[in-house]
């Protein structure tokens, strides 16, 4: 298994990946297609740079303020999309991530408020982080049980959990936002280290770890195998049930981290924090090159996908375009991504899902 499993070919236990006997031209096309999210991103940045220079003589990308703002904006959608990447590669989808994020944000706010007077700020924050991420894991665990043991389709199971997590989060929050009274927590959310916000550092490290987990470990390999061909994976001796259970817990914990960082940044836990981000997270994964049919995708692609969305939304405000164009542009980019994906499969002789 020397090839990376990003090309959508099943990583079967015995079969040689089909790309081995493909000619060089195909491989080149494939490589370019794999990088399409980064190419999109580059094209967008060049486009906005040209626009900024020609319309008002400013610069878009050489302005560190812009880079920083885009990075902060991308944090929450990217964290959700990281968990979502694993789930989508396995052939599933997790619709509950947005409200799991809100649940974690509210739990973190409550725990930190509760613990700060007795334990001091740093311990309370640590406790808040732990409890919030553990609590986020509970709906993930139930999602995992539903999908792996009870054979509920992920779309339906996680949709149900979307409602449950939402209700519980709002109940815990009393229907409103929960302000956090811990200045150190606000510093974590808004402070900087060598000019880069802490939350961007935390996200970067976390995403690299997840990239390693997906691309270099047995867990990641199993994930691709299950998504590409569950029957083959089962015959190859992979314990699909326990894998899926761990998978959904992990994606919920990603959303939990996003929720805690949200509370730190806005100094308040809000149940609806992640609601608008769910579809952005799916979009980031798809733009990043993953197939919704499972079996392909990378974390680095998702990073590019999340930044494509962030750059479009920030850039259009920066060059002062009518706000509704944002929806249109993100939609168009998603459609183009999927078209490229399909064309690539056809061209490389791989499976075409229709």
């Amino acid at each position: 298994m020397t090839t990376t499993p990003t090309d959508g070919t099943p990583v079967a236990s015995n079969g040689r990946p089909q790309a081995d006997h493909a000619d060089l031209a195909k491989t080149l096309v494939q490589r370019i297609a794999d990088l399409r999210a980064w190419l999109f991103l580059a094209a967008l940045i060049i486009g906005f740079e040209a626009w900024a220079r020609s319309s008002f003589g400013g610069t878009f990308i050489f302005n560190p303020f812009n880079l920083q703002s885009i990075a902060i904006f991308a944090v929450a959608p990217l964290l959700l999309a990281t968990g979502q990447t694993f789930v989508i590669i396995s052939g599933g989808i997790d619709l509950s991530l947005g409200f799991i994020m809100g649940l974690a944000a509210v739990v973190a706010a409550h725990v930190i408020n509760y613990a700060t007077p007795g334990m001091g700020a740093p311990t309370a924050i640590l406790l808040g982080f732990l409890v919030a991420i553990l609590v986020a894991g509970i709906p993930g665990f139930i999602n995992g049980l539903l999908v792996s043991r009870l054979r509920v389709p992920p779309f339906i199971g996680t949709l149900g959990m979307f409602g449950v997590a939402r209700g519980v989060a709002f109940l815990l929050a009393g229907g409103t936002t929960v302000p956090v009274h811990n200045p150190l927590f606000a510093t974590i959310g808004n402070g900087r280290f060598i000019g880069v916000p802490y939350i961007v550092w935390i996200t970067a490290v976390f995403v690299l770890v997840m990239h390693y987990l997906l691309s270099q470990t047995r867990f990641g390999q199993h994930n691709y195998a299950i998504g590409a061909n569950p029957q083959a994976a089962r015959r190859a001796g992979i314990d699909i049930k326990s894998h899926l259970l761990r998978l959904y817990i992990m994606s919920a914990c990603c959303a939990g981290l996003a929720g805690v960082l949200y509370s730190a940044r806005f100094n308040a836990g809000a149940a609806q924090a992640g609601e608008p981000l769910l579809l952005d997270s799916v979009a980031a994964v798809v733009i990043g090159g993953a197939s919704l049919f499972g079996g392909s995708g990378t974390i680095l692609g998702t990073v590019a996908g999340a930044f494509v969305i962030a750059v479009i939304q920030y850039g259009l405000v920066f060059v002062n375009v009518e706000p509704f164009w944002q929806f249109i542009s993100v939609g168009v980019v998603i459609i183009i991504s999927v078209l490229i994906d399909q064309a690539q499969r056809r061209f490389s002789g791989g499976r075409i899902d229709e």
Binding site: S69, T177, Y262, P276, F318, N320
Partner: protein, 331 residues
């Protein structure tokens, strides 16, 4: 039968009124009225505070209050809730309609069934009721803060905070089509245009109630307009996000933030300096007057077709004052 009992209660109220309002609960025991309150959304401190005011009035009058709504401010979600409420035949409905036109027909069903309708916070049609013209004049009363006035107060507060120099400002808003936030923006722009010529209002940014997006938009607008001096957050998440955007841009104190509504998270931000001014509505009063008006109507009294509740301007100087603190939305 029902009508007769209403008349009877009306007669009783006339007696009770002469004795004094405090005696009403004792006399109203024959017919315990049920009033339904349908908020714009259930998950918002504004409506939760409104419910508290409504409950206070309901307790005082011996009325049963039913509170049912949808988790999002969306007519598609609100109409089924309203239908279910109508099916239970309450004696009156208080509702914050989530759309000026889409809620007209669903509410007419209540009206046709003989259930009086009073709108609170938001309105249907043009908000002018009992005029005999138009198809949306059937509600009895519209009880709300004057959001255009609130927008004007926000503009004045922002202009004062910015001071003599003037500069650029913009409105951070949720999305178009919500009557209250549209009116706040309208009032804000009108006041700026009429009375503050040294302030330029830039194009409005819509954030879909996403604080993350509102923050990013502030940073983008500031990156483009280095002379940005202020922002008006037309609701909670707009203001929370804009305040964070100012902080991330390192412009706290330089770019002024005015927030509409005053839940505790905004008050915390006033204390920490991230938000300069909050325009607090009085949602508890809206709920209180709503229930009292419904009760007065049910007991045969006339009620005003419009009741305006006021605003309180909260800033760092008065936030500790207990006369001001009572207007903070509580959960």
């Amino acid at each position: 039968m029902k009508r007769r009992s209403v008349l009877k209660s009306a007669a009783m109220l006339a007696v009770a009124a002469s004795v004094g309002l405090a005696a009403v609960p004792g006399h109203a025991q024959d017919k315990k009225y049920t009033v339904a309150l349908v908020p714009g959304l259930t998950t918002d401190a504004f409506y939760i505070t409104m419910r508290k005011g409504a409950q206070a009035a309901a307790d005082a009058l011996g009325v049963e209050l039913v509170f049912q709504g949808a988790p999002d401010f969306n007519p598609v979600l609100q109409v089924p809730v309203l239908d279910a409420v109508i099916a239970r035949k309450p004696d009156a409905i208080l509702i914050a309609p989530t759309d000026t036109t889409q809620l007209v027909e669903p509410l007419r069903k209540a009206h046709d069934a003989g259930i009086p309708v009073i709108t609170v916070d938001t309105f249907i049609g043009n908000g002018k009721y009992q005029t005999g013209s138009g198809n949306a004049d059937f509600p009895l009363s519209y009880i709300a803060s004057d959001n255009v006035l609130g927008g004007r107060m926000a503009a004045t507060a922002l202009a004062n905070a910015i001071g003599e120099g003037g500069g650029k400002v913009y409105v951070s808003n949720v999305k178009p089509g919500i009557s209250t936030t549209d009116q706040r923006e309208e009032g804000f722009k009108a006041e700026m245009a009429e009375n503050h010529p040294n302030i330029t209002v830039l194009e409005t940014q819509f954030n879909e109630n996403d604080a993350n997006k509102a923050a990013s938009q502030l940073q983008a607008v500031f990156a483009r307009n280095s002379d940005l001096k202020g922002v008006f957050g037309a609701n909670l998440f707009s203001a929370l996000g804009a305040g964070n955007g100012v902080q991330q841009a390192g412009q706290t104190g330089n770019v002024k933030v005015v927030a509409f509504d005053a839940p505790t998270s905004i008050i915390d931000n006033i204390n920490s300096g991230l938000v300069d001014v909050a325009i607090a509505q009085h949602p508890a009063e809206i709920g209180y007057y709503g229930v009292v008006s419904a009760f007065a109507h049910l007991t045969g009294n006339s009620i005003p077709v419009a009741i305006g509740t006021g605003f309180t301007v909260i800033n760092k100087d008065n936030v500790g004052d207990e006369n001001v603190a009572k207007y903070i939305y509580s959960d």
